[in-house]
């Protein structure tokens, strides 16, 4: 009921009053068009600042490799998180435990049962897909709240991980896998970065350059509108859960290969940072929309920030504070409307 624009918009062509009742008065930042590149600009500023301050360490190939490579697992998980989220299934908490399950299945099969690495990887991804199917069944088919269902799924899968692993860390996963994922480098950057990049390119293409992606956007904005426009809403949502889970499974493989040993709590620490990146990414490139390119920028924005701070001597837990603060600040800035603040001061 906010503002019922009953009156027709004035129509003098070229007139200054051409815009209709301004329901959503854009903030100064948005009007200047800065919003979409705000994070990019801050990222560049950060690189300049760290570069000036600690040029020898920050501007080294080693650090670049560290920033790009160390976040590859998180980055792949972010692509997984993106899919259900963009369709309005706002949270799939179980993606973190899908990652953990995939890594653990791989480790247990490969280390304890001597299964071929490739088969073990496929089994890991398969396990993650089963988790996705479980979610589809209870979220889409029975039309439950995704937050509640995936909270349950997450807990169940975590329990299964403990059973499979006997509550122990399992290692060491085949070195040939490590080589192909982590140790081998191309242009001094671990290969897993390129795997993440490849997944990103596919996700980005589908979401931004196909009708499927456009429909996903409509589903995310309004499920009923999509349904009445003839979009196969539930089918698309189901695929988002399943493919999201599969990508989380791939992230699990990368995790196992990177760390060598798999800890039973592997995925749970990653899922919230992944959501932080997705929502931070929704403030960039296409503000107000969850988008793949924004998520890419957000992940490496966060990675650069934490790497710089750590090189300055901050403890590694600074990462958490930096993540949280960046998210809260980024979503708030577009809402900071000068008029509103002044008005509030006046009445206060």
């Amino acid at each position: 009921m906010s503002a019922s624009p009953g009156a027709p918009a004035p129509v003098e062509a070229g007139g200054r009053d051409e815009r209709p009742a301004e329901r959503d008065r854009p903030s100064a930042i948005r009007r200047l068009g800065l919003e979409r590149y705000a994070i990019v600009i801050v990222l560049v500023a950060m690189i300049v600042a760290f570069g000036v301050d600690i040029p020898s360490t920050f501007l080294s190939i080693g650090n670049l490799s560290n920033i790009l490579g160390s976040q590859a697992v998180l980055f792949i998980l972010v692509m997984a998180v993106l899919l259900p989220t963009i369709m309005g299934d706002f949270v799939d908490l179980s993606l973190g435990s899908s990652l953990g399950l995939s890594a653990m299945v791989l480790a247990v099969l490969n280390v304890q049962h001597g299964t071929n690495v490739l088969l073990a990887c496929l089994a890991g991804i398969g396990a993650a897909v089963i988790v996705g199917l479980f979610n589809v069944f209870f979220v889409v088919y029975f039309d439950n709240d995704p937050f509640i269902v995936t909270l349950g799924t997450m807990t169940i899968v975590q329990g299964i991980i403990y059973i499979v692993s006997g509550n122990n860390s399992v290692g060491i996963v085949s070195t040939s896998l490590s080589n192909w994922v982590f140790s081998n480098e191309f242009l001094s950057i671990p290969l897993e970065f390129y795997y993440g990049l490849a997944i990103f390119l596919v996700v980005w293409y589908v979401l931004s350059f196909t009708p499927v992606g456009q429909k996903a956007l409509v589903i995310g904005q309004s499920r009923e509108v999509a349904r009445l426009t003839g979009v196969r809403v539930n089918r698309q949502r189901s695929w988002a859960f399943i493919i999201g889970a599969a990508i989380a499974g791939i992230a699990g493989i990368a995790y196992a290969a990177t760390n060598g040993t798999v800890d039973p709590t592997a995925g749970s620490a990653l899922i919230l940072p992944a959501y932080a990146a997705v929502f931070l990414g929704a403030t960039a490139i296409k503000p107000g929309r969850i988008n793949a390119l924004g998520a890419l920028v957000a992940v490496y924005f966060l990675a650069t920030g934490t790497a710089g701070l750590e090189l300055l001597g901050a403890q590694s837990y600074i990462q958490q504070i930096f993540y949280g603060a960046a998210l809260v600040v980024a979503i708030t800035i577009p809402k900071v409307n000068r008029d509103r603040i002044f008005k509030r001061r006046r009445t206060a």
Binding site: P8, A9, P20, A21, T210, P211, V218, S222, G230
Partner: protein, 543 residues
């Protein structure tokens, strides 16, 4: 002999203007203690405006006065003030929380009325339950206090809402010491099957016997005549008659509501001279279209359609014909577009589109879109447009697939297509990349119409297509739909409660009542008043 008691509530000289439009014109209305007054009139006659002045929503023009038990209360009323002077309202939607129990709903009013200070007072649920049971008992209503309200049949929900309102009035009388209290019932019977209405009336008679004054607003003349002591007829914002309910024949009442001297229905619609070419040629090779067919322009027939409310309904729409469907709320007319699109499930029925025969129960929105059936729903914000997407994204939603070729999404073509549509459908301002929520209601509606018309529908289903739309956009929408019908031979189904609109745009109007077609009007017979009279008359015939 003492002077007769003052009426419980009296309105004097109430007027209300909306812009240049006079909704109420010097209306006087009074209701005595223990009296039921029926308020009738067609859509737009001012009934709901009057209720909203009583409830404090609208501010009347200066000069209007309100007396409660003979004492003047200054107008306008503040929101919430109505309950403090002994007025209580039950609206069509009943304002019950479906997830709460009967008892919780029953006592909700007390919680709110108790004010902030009592907000922390502990609730004795056992005592509440005892009192609740006693209250229901007093009104002769049998309900399980622990049942979720949403699980009750509609009539029991209506009774619960009335009991709650009556009980609020009761408390008001004991607390204030005043004798008066006024219960306003706004269309409480529309969703009820006729056999349940009588139960409701028993309850209203109990409330009346307690001494409350009751204002009963309804379209249903049978109901009004059987429950009211006196009937007040509003027409064009004026009280045209005030008669004892027992003394007036129904036909006479219909004449009073509509006005005996039938006014000229067709207002000057002279601007149809420039029809709009509404199908835009797809810029790419048409690939994804599943239905080649001979294009638009096919005879449509609906056969034996039934759902909860519609009963074995059959009708036809010729190619290029605009068929209006008129019906009062509850007649089933408002379900029709959604059933034919497959958005709501039907129980049975077939839809013939040219030579094709479709089972309506097996329709789904996806299937309908492929069959080029279009639905413009009444709730454009919730069902029609993706509000936070841009204008162009909304317009091209249905034709996107045709512009994805060889792995490349031709966004430029789509934007160009949208830009063309914006021009043809005169959407203003022509900013294709602006978020659709920033446009005015009329322009949003034009965009919604454009979205469906550029897909070249064979059957266009419209539900309240000009709701919340300004006059200029309304004319445009009439023009667009008419030209789609003439130029593309699209068959159009137009459902609205604005009967004047039907008279103006439709070639033929069918009137529904209780889920059946009871009248067909065409040509010279088409006028606002004729349709209204037909819709009102039917209730009588069916009952």
């Amino acid at each position: 002999m003492e002077a007769p008691a003052p009426p419980a509530v009296e309105l004097r000289d109430i007027s209300k203007d909306f812009g240049s439009n006079r909704a109420l014109d010097h209306v006087d209305l009074s209701i005595g203690d223990g009296e039921v007054v029926g308020l009738v009139g067609q859509n737009g006659s001012g009934k709901s405006t009057l209720v909203k002045i009583l409830s404090g929503v609208h501010v009347p023009e200066p000069g209007g006065r309100l007396f409660v038990s003979g004492e003047e209360v200054p107008l306008p009323l503040a929101p919430g003030q109505a309950s403090q002077i002994g007025l209580s309202f039950v609206y069509q939607n009943l304002a019950l929380a479906p997830g709460l129990t009967v008892l919780e709903n029953l006592t909700l009013g007390q919680r709110v009325a108790a004010g902030a200070r009592a907000a922390w007072a502990p609730i004795n649920w056992l005592g509440e339950k005892r009192r609740g049971a006693a209250v229901l008992d007093r009104y002769g209503v049998r309900l399980n206090l622990d049942q979720r309200t949403g699980e009750l049949p509609p009539v029991d929900q209506a009774r619960l809402a009335i009991v709650r309102a009556a009980e609020d009035l009761n408390r008001y009388r004991t607390r204030s010491g005043y004798k008066h209290s006024v219960l306003v019932l706004d269309e409480p019977t529309v969703f009820l099957p006729e056999e349940d209405v009588e139960q409701l009336f028993d309850l209203i008679r109990t409330v009346k016997a307690e001494g409350a004054a009751v204002l009963f607003i309804s379209h249903d003349l049978v109901a009004v005549r059987s429950i009211a002591d006196r009937v007040v007829v509003l027409r064009d914002g004026r009280v045209v008659a005030e008669v004892p309910a027992g003394e007036i024949e129904e036909q006479a009442l219909v004449d009073l509501i509509v006005g005996t001297s039938a006014r000229q229905g067709g207002s000057a619609a002279a601007d149809e001279a420039r029809p709009v070419e509404v199908t835009l040629a797809p810029a790419g090779p048409a690939g994804a279209e599943d239905t080649p067919g001979p294009g638009p322009g096919q005879h449509v027939a609906v056969e034996h359609l039934s759902d909860g409310r519609l009963k074995d309904l059959s009708f036809e729409i010729g190619a290029g014909e605009i068929l209006g469907v008129a019906g009062l709320i509850g007649s089933g007319a408002e379900d029709l577009p959604y059933l034919l699109f497959g958005a709501h499930p039907a129980l049975s029925g077939t839809l013939r589109l040219g030579s094709e025969k479709l089972d309506i129960t097996a329709l789904s929105p996806q299937r309908s879109v492929r069959q080029r059936i279009a639905l413009v729903p009444a709730d454009r914000q919730l069902l029609g447009l993706a509000e936070r997407l841009t204008l162009w994204e909304n317009i091209v939603m249905l034709v996107e697939d045709e512009h994805y070729r060889g792995g490349v999404f031709h966004r430029g073509e789509l934007v160009e297509l949208a830009r063309e549509a914006v021009q043809r459908f005169e959407i203003r301002p022509p900013r294709t990349h602006a978020v659709i929520a920033t446009f005015s209601g009329g322009n949003q509606q034009k965009a919604l119409l454009a979205k469906w018309l550029i897909a070249g529908p064979r059957l266009l289903l419209l539900h309240e297509p000009t709701q919340g739309v300004d006059v200029g956009a309304r004319r445009d929408i009439y023009r667009f739909v008419k030209s789609a019908a003439t130029l593309n031979q699209t068959s159009v189904l137009w459902v609205t409660t604005d009967f004047g609109e039907l008279a103006e745009v439709c070639d033929r109007v069918i009137v529904l009542s209780e889920g059946r077609t009871t009248d067909t009007l065409a040509g010279e017979e088409l006028s606002d008043d004729a349709i209204t009279a037909a819709a009102l008359r039917q209730i009588r015939e069916v009952r």
